[in-house]
């Protein structure tokens, strides 16, 4: 029994009655069925049976009209059936095609989504997708911030993680900025749960209904910048020393010349006295010029040259210095030999400065030895640095000798120049030896490379008793300021 049963029954009844009125009614009903699109297959089967019935009655002449009508009716029914069948067939094809297309599109979309997620997931930069309250982060974010993505459910969680105690303020500001659509580009220091501090640079890119945050780790860059700043501070100190030497030597030359000129004029007799006085006055004014430079310099440098000279045991200074760098020598298989002429030598000096000179020489010597060994693929046998002392008259000669490759003649002359260095960028400032020389000369001593020695040998000749020299103050202000 289907929903068309009442129609079918009615139709059979009209056909059974066989009069012209009932057949007309049957035709109308059939038309209605067709027009309503109700001519589905079970119904057609029944129509076929009805056709058989009508054909069986065809010998009745009064029914010739009926047969015509029945044929006409059936023809229409079949035509309708054909139409609807074709329609259905096409429709089914289309649906199938659509389904296929949809499946294809779905698969494409899935592939594209996978590519995208894999790309975002593996980005070396932290990427965050935010849409209203929805927050999604990639693996780099987890690694950068030392967190797990399961901790981040919404915008509030995200801000709490990123900005900790500032989260509320930042969130308010963020919402305000979001309205105005302003882009954000900021750097922040982030303290991770594991105690590591990360410097992050984050930027927000806004689209209509979502935004992407990009997080970059700039920790190493900032560290490098700080280091660069420190070494350029050293370099600028050297530059200052060079400029200062120029600044001070000029007026010194004027003073010296003027005084000598005045003395010569005085020797010529009373007529030249006024002229001599003029030169002396000019000399005095030039002294003020130097004093002014020195005064300005004080604010620049840590004034270690103000340290008092004191009588100290040289052995103690040497022992302390060696204890600074001894480990480095041992670690790299370089022998550090200390040979003291006498153990109880007492020197009048600024011990910190002498220690600085020694440290500088020992480090240079180590570098030279290390370089030779490195070039021999660590198979160079005799690696040593020797520190010796020897009494020479009323001074002590402290020498640092090394088994390195030696200093080529071509650069011997430039050794003591500020900024001259053979070390690679970042390893040496080129100031070491020039500062050493400044310090030793500030102790009325001599600092030089012993060219007679077979091995590289730097010598510091330090008098037991320090003699005040006229230019000492200015020299030391420069030399001791690092």
């Amino acid at each position: 029994m289907n929903c068309y049963q009442p129609y079918t029954d009615l139709l059979s009844k009209y056909l059974d009655e066989g009069n012209s009125e009932s057949l007309l009614q049957a035709k109308e009903l059939g038309d209605e069925i067709v027009s309503q699109g109700l001519a589905m297959s079970p119904l057609l089967v029944e129509h076929h049976q009805l056709l058989q019935k009508i054909l069986a009655q065809s010998d009745y002449t009064q029914f010739s009209l009926v047969v015509d009508r029945a044929n006409q009716f059936l023809h229409e029914v079949f035509a309708a059936f054909d139409r609807s069948y074709l329609d259905t067939l096409n429709l089914n094809k289309e649906i199938e095609k659509n389904n296929h297309d949809m499946r294809e599109a779905q698969s494409e979309a899935r592939k594209a989504y996978q590519k995208m997620t894999s790309l975002i997931e593996n980005l070396p930069a932290g990427a965050v997708y935010i849409e209203d309250d929805f927050v999604m982060v990639n693996r780099a974010v987890e690694e950068l911030l030392g967190c797990d993505r399961s901790e981040i459910h919404d915008l509030r969680d995200w801000f709490a993680l990123m900005f900790s105690h500032e989260a509320e303020n930042k969130l308010a500001l963020y919402k305000q900025n979001k309205k105005t659509g302003r882009s954000v580009f900021e750097t922040l220091s982030f303290l991770r749960k594991d105690g590591l501090t990360k410097h992050l640079q984050y930027s927000i890119y806004r689209e209509n209904n979502f935004e992407i945050w990009l997080l970059l780790d700039v920790t190493e860059k900032i560290k490098a910048d700080i280091k660069l700043g420190q070494s350029s501070k050293m370099a600028s100190l050297g530059q200052m020393a060079a400029g200062l030497a120029h600044e001070i030597n000029n007026p010194l030359a004027i003073i010296k010349g003027k005084v000598q000129l005045a003395s010569q004029l005085i020797g010529k007799g009373p007529t030249s006295l006024a002229s001599a006085q003029k030169h002396l006055l000019a000399a005095e004014q030039t002294v003020d010029r130097i004093a002014k430079i020195i005064k300005g310099l004080r604010s620049f440098s840590r004034d270690s040259s103000g340290d008092p000279f004191s009588s100290v045991h040289l052995k103690q200074v040497i022992d302390e210095t060696v204890s600074f760098c001894g480990a480095r020598f041992t670690n790299f298989g370089v022998k550090l030999l200390v040979e003291l002429d006498k153990d109880d030598v007492v020197v009048d000096c600024r011990p910190v400065e002498i220690s600085q000179v020694l440290l500088n020489l020992l480090n240079n010597a180590f570098d030279a030895v290390y370089e030779v060994n490195k070039q021999a693929n660590n198979e160079h046998k005799d690696n040593w640095v020797k520190l010796t002392t020897k009494i020479v008259g009323d001074a002590v000669e402290i020498a640092v000798i090394d088994s390195g490759a030696g200093i080529p003649d071509s650069i011997k002359l430039k050794l003591m120049q500020p900024f001259f260095t053979t070390k690679e960028v970042g390893k040496g400032t080129g100031l070491g030896l020039s500062i050493c020389r400044g310090i030793v000369e500030g102790h009325s001593g001599k600092f030089y490379l012993d060219e007679q020695s077979v091995n590289t040998k730097f010598v510091m000749l330090l008098p037991f008793k320090h003699q005040q020299t006229r230019s000492e103050k200015s020299v030391l202000k420069v030399a001791g300021g690092f």
Binding site: A242, N250, I254, K256, L261, H279
Partner: protein
């Protein structure tokens, strides 16, 4: 001060002093004028080159670091014309140029400021005698 064996005189000697430091330039000029030298002054290397083209100069005294024309370039300019003359003395407060390099470039003497005027006069005296021979 050591006694001079004979009185020093630079009479008829024309000396060019190039230094950006006016006081220093004038101090040297005044001292050398006491010995009868004729002095020409220049503020920097470029100015000095221009003066060399105008006047006959017997001796040059020059600073190294000068704004607007450095002493080494000045020396090179002179030595292009003559490898020895006029004699050239560097006076420098501080420089990357070593004495050896200065001599290699064709300078005859190098004085570091502050220098001793007696030694300075002595050196000029030697150069004067050599020039007068």
């Amino acid at each position: 001060m050591q006694a001079q064996a004979e009185p020093v005189s630079f009479a008829g000697f024309s000396i060019l002093i190039a230094d950006d430091e006016k006081d220093l330039r004038e101090m040297i000029a005044e001292t050398l004028e006491l010995y009868g030298a004729k002095i020409v002054q220049a503020e920097n290397g470029l100015e000095a080159v221009a003066m060399m083209n105008k006047e006959k100069i017997d001796l040059v005294i020059s600073d190294i670091r000068m704004p607007g024309g450095d002493g080494v370039l000045f020396l090179n300019e002179i030595r292009k014309k003559d490898p020895k003359l006029p004699p050239f003395i560097f006076i420098s407060g501080f420089s990357d140029l070593s004495e050896t390099e200065a001599f290699a470039q064709g300078a005859q003497a190098y004085f570091h400021k502050p220098f001793d005027m007696n030694q300075f006069i002595e050196k000029i005296s030697c150069l004067y005698k050599a020039a007068m021979k």
